[in-house]
């Protein structure tokens, strides 16, 4: 905005340049210092070059399968036989080292270790461990980059989730998808660059709020667009009854003319944004129904994702829709699947959750791969933190609960320039990281790097300082980049 104001005032200075030469030269020179590309003189080129990667990207698009509520890494990926050996014994203080606890277990007198009740096996050429709950994901393990050494600072859902999505624990910062939309723009001009899909599992759920896909202080065009499961996937997109497409077109033409007038007068870039958004919504009226129509998917796809993929609102359906959106150039598709917050009855709940997500998550990878899209699409799967190695509440042989654990957890990524394999290692208790820590900021820096963006250069000036997704931290983790 500052830049526009300056340019606006400078456009008068160019006129003065002829009458008051000295002042003109001075201010233009000053202007060229303030607006470095003032003399490159090609606004067209500038507009075209905005929203381009800083360097050639490995991935063009992201599908983020967010497992909301925090899946237990100890029951899915991070195999710790020691916990089974020491079943029921107290977690040594030397391991816990004063870790801050949530209000749910802070009063607990004992922290009895709870080894997983599920069987683990190694899969694929990297020998990655998977529990029996994820047979389909295990089957595609050769394509996965499994990061076992993620850690975060937050210990409760909302701050942790907000941290993962926006790079800050407090709200109102732009979401990851918004930053990418801002940094790279939309690939397909007929769809939003950032789409959000929600689904709910049977387990203990935690809220998902629209602040997670907010544009924060970025232009509102970068906000995530939520697709819902009913007849109206995008709310308020359809024309009201008795308004035809032509009527709508005529109306838009008139509105755009008025808006263009007012842009000429005031030069406010938000006016142009508005025009663009109206135009995109108009094109979306055709594009969205095409994409959300699942009836033309072949039966092999239904079998690949599981029959639930045709039932709107399920995780499987969202995975299939995510593939279709991504295939059509949507930069960032954000899924949330709720129900992973296993404080009690974890073994029972996690079974249901895995049944929801296992086949469809793996199917998404296979499906992208068979279309030749996996290498340019980054798929990310994971929650906002991990779960404790000790039991919350009563521990029995086949039942336990796990509290929130920020010090280590597992996420995996596939496609888009990541290096398949297992990255990072936790101790025998699955409590601390012993090798190759990856902080949430590092994760963001790495993801931006894969998308061709330097996280230190992708900035936006707001309230007097420049903000980044990684704010003042984060380093690119080369070990997970192919």
């Amino acid at each position: 905005m500052n830049k526009e104001l300056l340019e606006h005032s400078l456009s008068f200075n160019r006129r003065k340049f002829l009458s008051k030469l000295s002042l003109g030269i001075g201010s233009v020179a000053l202007g060229s210092l303030l607006i470095p590309d003032l003399f490159s003189g090609k606004p067209d080129e500038e507009a075209l070059m905005a929203g381009l990667p800083h360097f050639a990207p490995k991935a063009k698009r992201i599908i983020y399968l967010f497992q909301n509520g925090a899946p237990s890494q100890l029951d899915l990926f991070d195999y710790k036989p020691k916990l089974q050996e020491m079943f029921g014994q107290d977690l040594p203080e030397s391991i816990r080292m004063g870790q801050r606890l949530t209000g749910m277990t802070a009063d607990q007198k004992k922290f009895p270790l709870a080894g997983t009740v599920f069987n683990f096996k190694q899969y694929g050429k990297h020998g990655a461990w998977f529990s029996e709950l994820l047979p389909h994901i295990a089957a595609v393990s050769d394509d996965l980059c499994i990061v076992k050494s993620m850690y975060t600072e937050a210990i409760n859902h909302d701050p942790a989730l907000t941290f993962f999505q926006t790079g800050a624990q407090v709200g109102n910062r732009p979401s990851m998808g918004s930053w990418l939309s801002y940094g790279l723009g939309s690939e397909n001009k007929n769809l939003p660059a950032f789409c959000v899909l929600l689904s709910k599992g049977s387990g203990n759920g935690q809220g998902v709020y629209s602040k997670l896909w907010t544009n924060g202080f970025l232009d509102s065009i970068h906000q995530g667009v939520q697709f819902s499961s009913g007849d109206n996937p995008v709310l308020y997109l359809n024309n009201p009854e008795s308004i035809s497409k032509d009527d709508r077109r005529k109306m838009l033409d008139k509105i755009n003319a008025l808006n263009a007038e007012s842009f000429k007068e005031f030069g406010d870039p938000e006016i142009n944004t508005k025009i663009q958004q109206y135009e995109m919504a108009f094109r979306m009226q055709t594009a969205v129904p095409e994409i959300t129509d699942m009836s033309k998917e072949p039966e092999s796809i239904v079998k690949l994702y599981g029959p639930e993929c045709l039932v709107p609102g399920t995780y499987a359906a969202n995975c299939l829709l995510a593939r279709k959106l991504s295939e059509n150039g949507v930069r960032f598709v954000q899924l949330y699947h709720q129900g992973w917050d296993g404080h009690n009855n974890l073994p029972g709940e996690i079974k249901g959750q895995c049944k929801d997500v296992d086949q469809a998550s793996a199917a998404l990878i296979t499906d992208l791969k068979q279309r030749g899209l996996l290498d340019e699409t980054l798929v990310i799967w994971g929650g906002e933190f991990g779960r404790t190695n000790y039991c919350q509440g009563a521990l029995s042989k086949d039942n336990y609960g796990r509290d929130h654990h920020p010090r280590c957890f597992t996420i995996w990524m596939a496609g888009g320039g990541v290096k398949p394999g297992v990255y990072g290692e936790t101790d025998d208790f699955g409590y601390n990281i012993i090798q190759d820590k990856v902080h949430v900021n590092d994760f963001h820096a790495t993801v931006l790097n894969l998308m061709g963006l330097n996280h230190e250069e992708l900035t936006y000036k707001h309230l007097g300082r420049r903000y980044r997704l990684t704010d003042v931290a984060g380093k690119v983790i080369d070990g997970i980049i192919a």
């Binding site: 360097f55 690939e187 239904v302």
Partner: protein, 716 residues
């Protein structure tokens, strides 16, 4: 000349004599540490002679000329020249001290040294003979021009020594001149080791000049070594001759590179050492090394990770880019600095072959072309074949048949080809064996059989062929049908609305509570009307699939809506809904939100409510709609009684029900209890439902009192 000027001039003269003396004995010069400190002030002082020379010339030739005869001006003129000479001489002296420190490129230093000294001498002599110089105009002017020239030249040379060659002009020289190397392609020898040898060793060990009978300009000659033997031995502790010579003290005659020549930096020594330690292989690539390998880490800093300058063609014009970008054809550069373009087509309905033809304007720049799902036919291939630098081509789900696929052989750079969902055959694919750079081919959802793919792999050896997921013979289970009816209370007959999302799945249903099967149960067609309390059970079937689970829904009938309702006993304060009218508002409570105002909850009190009609109605059943959520202590009532009559004081017991109690914790469910009785005419109905007094032993809250939750009472 006044005394002060004379004294200063003597000092300047002394410095100049010292300079001459030092130059004569330069080779045996040893600078003590305190003089080194003086020497290091050279970079500070040097700015004075530059400025002063220019300032003096300006004064001398402009100001003095204009103000002829002004004594004061001429006096300043003299002073200026003297200070200039002094600064130039002192700077030259200190520069000489500094030059004796190690680490400067001797060749670059020589010119700077002599020109610097020249400035000192010229200005000193000029001051000494200024009256005389003034009288010979040609000398006067040429000495001025010479001074300017030399001062600029000296300054530039100094800059080169400090900031590196070509420091001045680098920003305006074209960037593309620098050949950037990709990390993925960098070789240890070619890109890390050889450049060191080139800059630091070749000058004495080349085809013209091979000191010590050693030449280092080819791999074979490097391996051969020189007069003293082979250059390295990876197993020796000192790694052999080359490294031991590098590590000798600088003063040692055998130290390499010899004293006075540019020395190896620490990082260069580290590179050479690590390379030799690894066996001095000439072909190893950096990415073959472990990620934490020291050489790889050095390389990671040095080489770009991305394909910035992978392309040697010119970028397309901005005008073309602008023109070719439409809402459905998106042309974007790979990155801000890349001349390469990617093109994506969206929306099949908007596609025409002309749009592809128009792209020929940028045919050299397009490296990635995505035509996924576009309705293009075989004739498009001849256009596509003209995109000479194409690396990635997506033709999935297009209408190409595979005929003329061999035209793609012209795409010499093609690396990735997606043909999923097209009609290509093995024979068609055999014709593109000419694509030497191809490394990935996607043929999912084509008619290729597994055997054909195996055969294909034999002729396309370096290509990864992805056949994707094939619809195998595994039998999977259908999802249950979905009930679309939102209403759960039937006041007038309603249509049953069921749906299944899988094509070809049939839905069978029953209305009598029996389990639907594939033989006896009716197939759902859409024209079923529901009336009265009804249990709908439905199940999906499809040939080749396992039939789905059964869904079950209860529809409540409500023929007579009471005109008002009164709670005789209060509902619990936390769950009192909107009072007794909640029971007759026909709004069903939700299963998972018993806190909503649609529910009335009872624990201490039993439910005892009165339903009132303004006129007499003839009824035969009353249904109590309840919630059972055992985990939340919400149980079925232990007994339900319905009383009725025309006078409040004369109500009779019409019917009573003792619902069965559960025996284990289950998920919550909604449950209706229907109490039937002989048709009775009445104006008042009283309903009583009793919560369980003591929760059973198996319940987590055993011994406590349980709850009853009611949302509606239906009268039929």
């Amino acid at each position: 000349m006044m005394a002060l000027q004379r004294n200063i001039f003597n000092l300047v003269f002394g410095i100049n004599i010292l300079l001459v003396f030092l130059l004569i004995f330069e080779n045996s010069l040893v600078i003590p540490p305190w003089l080194q400190v003086m020497g290091r002030m050279h970079p500070l002082l040097l700015h004075f002679p530059i400025t002063l020379v220019l300032l003096f010339l300006f004064w001398h030739f402009v100001v003095v000329k204009k103000m002829v005869g002004n004594e004061w001006i001429i006096n300043i003129d003299r002073w200026l020249l003297l200070i200039t000479a002094f600064a130039a001489s002192l700077t030259a002296l200190m520069g000489l001290f500094l030059s004796k420190e190690k680490g400067y490129d001797v060749n670059a230093l020589q010119l700077h040294k002599w020109s610097g000294i020249a400035i000192a001498f010229i200005t000193t002599i000029w001051f000494a003979y200024q009256e005389w110089v003034q009288k010979i105009p040609w000398l006067h002017y040429s000495i001025a021009v010479l001074s300017i020239g030399i001062i600029l030249f000296t300054g530039h040379q100094g800059g080169t020594i400090t900031h590196g060659p070509n420091f001045l002009l680098a920003p305006i020289e074209s960037v593309s001149a620098q050949q950037e190397v990709l990390l993925s392609e960098a070789e240890i020898y070619t890109h890390l080791v050889q450049p060191i040898l080139q800059t630091k060793c070749y000058s004495c060990h080349n085809d013209k000049k091979s000191k010590g009978e050693l030449r280092m300009d080819t791999e074979a000659l490097l391996l051969k070594g020189g007069k003293s033997g082979k250059l390295w031995d990876s197993t020796a502790p000192d790694l052999g001759l080359l490294m031991s010579r590098v590590h000798l003290p600088l003063e040692n005659k055998k130290h390499m590179p010899p004293i006075g020549k540019p020395q190896l930096t620490d990082i260069e020594i580290q590179i050479l050492e690590a390379w030799i330690k690894k066996g001095a292989n000439f072909k190893t690539k950096l990415i073959d090394l472990a990620t934490n390998d020291e050489l790889r880490m050095i390389g990671q800093e040095k080489f770009s990770k991305s394909a910035i300058d992978e392309f040697d063609f010119e970028p397309a014009s901005t005008a073309s880019l602008k023109k070719l970008n439409t809402d459905y054809r998106v042309v974007t550069p790979l990155s801000k600095t890349s001349p390469a373009l990617q093109v994506d087509f969206f929306s099949p309905a908007a596609f025409s072959l002309d749009q592809l033809n128009e792209l020929l304007e940028i045919k050299n720049q397009v490296v990635s072309l995505n035509l996924n799902k576009m309705p293009l036919k075989d004739d498009a291939l001849s256009i596509i074949a003209q995109f000479a630098n194409l690396q990635k081509l997506n033709l999935s789900f297009t209408q190409i048949t595979g005929k003329n696929l061999n035209q793609l052989n012209q795409l010499k750079s093609l690396k990735q080809l997606s043909l999923s969902g097209t009609k290509v055959s093995k024979e068609d694919l055999m014709t593109i064996a000419g694509l030497k750079n191809l490394n990935a081919l996607y043929v999912w959802n084509t008619k290729l059989t597994d055997n054909e793919i195996i055969e294909l792999k034999k002729s396309l050896k370096s290509v990864m062929i992805e056949k994707g997921f094939t619809d195998d013979t595994s039998i999977i289970k259908l999802t249950p049908p979905i009930l679309l009816n939102e209403e759960q209370v039937i006041t007038t007959p309603i249509k049953l609305k069921l749906k299944h999302y899988i094509n070809g799945a049939s839905i069978r249903y029953t209305l009598d509570g029996s389990e639907p099967d594939s033989i006896n149960a009716k197939e759902y067609s859409g024209d079923i009307l529901l009336s009265g309390n009804t249990t709908v059970k439905a199940k999906a079937f499809k040939k080749g699939w396992i039939s789905s689970n059964t869904i079950e829904t209860y529809f409540f009938s409500s023929k007579f809506k009471p005109d008002s309702a009164v709670n005789i006993l209060r509902a619990d304060d936390n769950y009192r809904g909107d009072g007794a009218s909640t029971l007759i508002d026909l709004a069903k409570g939700e299963l998972n939100n018993f806190k909503s105002r649609k529910w009335l909850g009872y624990k201490l009190n039993r439910m005892e409510s009165l339903l009132l009609f303004n006129t007499t109605v003839k009824i035969k059943s009353v249904t109590l709609s309840t919630l059972v959520d055992i985990g939340s202590y919400i149980m079925p009532p232990t007994s339900i009684e319905v009383w009725g009559g025309n006078e409040l004081s004369q109500l009779k017991l019409l019917g009573r029900l003792t619902p069965p109690q559960p025996t284990a914790v289950t998920k919550g469910y909604l449950k209706g209890y229907e109490i039937n009785f002989a048709p009775t005419s009445l104006k008042y109905i009283k309903v009583i439902a009793v919560p369980i007094a003591v929760l059973p032993k198996w319940h987590p809250g055993k011994g406590d009192k349980g709850w009853v939750f009611v949302d509606e009472v239906y009268v039929n």
